[in-house]
């Protein structure tokens, strides 16, 4: 953890300051979405931008996700670099066509003549608002060819991956976990450099955050932090758990994954997106395909029902350090 006496910024501030910096450097960047201008975003991730850049570059939109995400596509094709906010990922359903059939496919369908350089920022994960405001839906994007999907796990990566997204020629879905936005930059359980100094982070390269000879936990986004906490808990019991942060779901670092899996006796995938037909299956299948009988024992721990409203029920459904540790023990046969 940071030892600086200065209070560390919130994740949302890191996003906002990174955007501010990028907008200062690149006039083509515009920001649009619901409540991004006067309010500075419901999570504060666009704060100060409107004051700095005005209504030409920071636009509050009507509650018309199809219209304004489509507009971001058109503007991108016309030479701008829109950063468009889908307030909660749960709302993807009202604008999914623009995502699936337009932004994802224009490059391919034009034989590479058109690119759609935009960043679709969206808040994901459960902070207690039941089934329609707690989803992650990362696999719903990652399933569609043509979209890149970045999923930062820490304050530093919020900046590092965002910088890369802002320079990418393709549409990047940028998943901001609400807990990451709402907590301070020194709150992740491992040491990281001053997040606002972080350089661009390459897409498609996982990172190992913790070594462990007994089990390797693979996750993305905020679940990486919970996996890390679980690993610390397990260490107290003499179980050494490694922690892998995928960083981007697309491109997926299959090579790195297989490399990690090859040396892991057991592997656990943790996901706060739904289990079925999702990321956990993709990770395990990628490893099984590559390693066959040499693959470690593999298990998943993910969300398998809609998120319930009641807090105690929610905790039974959404992974926590405790539930991850438990899943790890079960995977090791000592649960």
């Amino acid at each position: 953890m940071s030892t600086s006496t200065k209070v560390a910024p919130f994740g949302s501030q890191i996003v906002a300051e990174t955007l501010l910096e990028a907008m200062t450097e690149d006039e083509r960047i515009i920001v649009l979405g619901e409540d991004v201008a006067r309010l500075g975003g419901v999570f504060g991730a666009t704060r100060k931008l409107h004051a700095q850049f005005g209504s030409e570059r920071v636009l509050d939109t009507p509650i018309s996700e199809t219209a304004f995400i489509g507009a971001a596509i058109g503007a991108a094709q016309a030479g701008l670099r829109p950063v468009v906010e889908l307030m909660f990922v749960d709302f993807l359903g009202v604008c999914f066509d623009q995502i699936v059939n337009q932004m994802a496919k224009h490059r391919y369908m034009s034989g590479g003549r058109v690119t759609v350089p935009l960043v679709l920022r969206t808040a994901v994960g459960c902070i207690g608002a039941a089934a329609q405001h707690s989803q992650v839906l990362s696999a719903s994007f990652a399933h569609i060819p043509g979209l890149k999907v970045a999923f930062p796990a820490s304050p530093g990566d919020l900046r590092g991956l965002l910088l890369t997204a802002l320079a990418d020629p393709d549409p990047v879905v940028f998943l901001e976990h609400k807990w990451l936005l709402k907590t301070r930059a020194d709150s992740q359980p491992w040491h990281e450099d001053e997040p606002l100094a972080v350089e661009p982070v390459e897409f498609g390269r996982l990172r190992r955050l913790r070594d462990g000879g007994d089990i390797t936990i693979v996750a993305a986004g905020y679940m990486v932090q919970l996996a890390y906490l679980a690993a610390q808990e397990l260490a107290g019991e003499g179980i050494e758990a490694g922690v892998i942060d995928l960083r981007t779901l697309v491109p997926l670092d299959r090579e790195g994954l297989v490399h990690e899996a090859a040396s892991a006796p057991t592997l656990l995938v943790v996901d706060d997106d739904y289990a079925d037909y999702g990321m956990s299956g993709e990770i395990i299948a990628s490893i099984a395909e590559a390693l066959g009988p040499e693959a470690p024992r593999m298990r998943r721990h993910a969300v398998d029902v809609p998120i319930p409203a009641n807090k105690a029920l929610e905790e039974l459904v959404v992974p926590s350090p405790t539930s991850i540790a438990e899943a790890a023990r079960a995977a090791l046969g000592c649960g």
């Binding site: 309010l39 939109t61 219209a67 207690g128 329609q132 319930p308």
Partner: protein, 324 residues
């Protein structure tokens, strides 16, 4: 295009001011109790209250019949009360107990099939569903109400449904609670044109009313309901209101000026206070007014106690009810 009562020869009912007052006070206290439960931690999720918008719900209560359907929004409690949804089971659900939805739905996802009541947390998503109720109810004299905020009127789901409702001559009322904001975004920064005319291009009449006055709301609702019940198709009613709380409990709400808030929330415009003033002006006995207030408080107090007596949801059932 607005509907004209003289032309339609519908007679608008007069609300009983005292009973209406009691209803509104009950609603106000109900919402305040829910707000307090956020403070106590009994509610841990997002909470959107309808305080300030009671006059609309009180009028709605008078316009609705039990067999009508209503699909509400993320700010649904008062519409549920208006339609006779079990207030204790709802309160229990809001307090994350074994309530209306066994603690699984929560405040944006209330379902009362016995009243054809539901709501959704996705802005605009309720309108098509209300159209489905209307389709099923067509010809029975029952009406389906789609509630929308001003902000929701820009969502494709609502706009498509206006066309469908007009085309299929559905018995629907689009009730728009125009509180001037969608979270922080002002109506004029989000909505082109006049909301009551949104149905106009589809041939749907609309009317705007003072949403702080229950009688004014009912005056606007009744012809709309009468049209729909009579098989004459849908109508839009926009009620101009103000939300007294932040968008959600905990919202710093700095996007609305103190002057603006004061202009709407003063005694002269607060719908509950206004209704009280009406009673006083009409010469209602102070004791009757007080009795109504006491009754309202007692009622909600009783509901709250009953809701709190209900158990927490059964953790063993958390994975049930996904599919049969």
């Amino acid at each position: 295009m607005t509907f004209d009562c003289t032309v339609r020869s519908c007679t608008v009912s007069s609300l009983n001011p005292l009973r209406t007052y009691q209803t509104m006070v009950t609603m106000r206290i109900y919402e305040e109790a829910v707000g307090a439960a956020v403070e106590t931690g009994e509610v841990h999720g997002e909470m959107h209250l309808g305080i300030g918008q009671e006059a609309v719900a009180a009028a709605l209560a008078a316009a609705l019949r039990p067999e009508d359907a209503i699909v509400s929004t993320h700010r649904p409690h008062l519409h549920a009360l208006a339609h006779g949804v079990d207030p204790v089971a709802m309160l229990a659900e809001l307090l994350e107990r074994d309530g209306l939805s066994r603690g699984k739905g929560g405040h944006m996802h209330l379902f009362a099939p016995e009243r054809n009541f539901m709501c959704t947390g996705i802005v605009g998503a309720g309108a098509p569903i209300a159209a489905g109720y209307a389709l099923a109810l067509r010809g029975t004299g029952a009406v389906a109400v789609a509630v929308a905020g001003d902000g929701a009127m820009n969502q494709g789901a609502v706009l498509e449904t206006l066309n469908l409702a007009a085309l299929w001559n559905l018995p629907m009322v689009f009730l728009v609670e125009d509180n001037g904001y969608g979270i922080s975004v002002r109506r004029e920064d989000a909505s082109a044109g006049v909301l009551a005319e949104r149905g106009g291009s589809f041939g749907i009449p609309g009317a705007t009313c003072d949403g702080t006055d229950p009688q004014a709301v009912l005056d606007a609702l009744e012809p709309a309901f009468a049209r729909a019940r009579g098989g004459e198709g849908p109508a839009v009613v926009v009620a101009e209101v103000y939300r007294f709380r932040g968008h959600y409990e905990g919202d710093a709400d700095q996007y609305r000026s103190p002057e603006e808030k004061a202009s709407w929330m003063g005694e002269d415009r607060d719908p509950v206070h206004r209704q009280r003033a009406l009673l006083v002006a009409q010469g209602t006995d102070a004791s009757d007014i007080e009795a109504a207030e006491t009754a309202a408080a007692a009622t909600v107090g009783g509901w709250l106690a009953a809701a709190r007596a209900l158990p927490m949801p059964d953790p063993a059932r958390v994975r049930e009810d996904v599919i049969a």
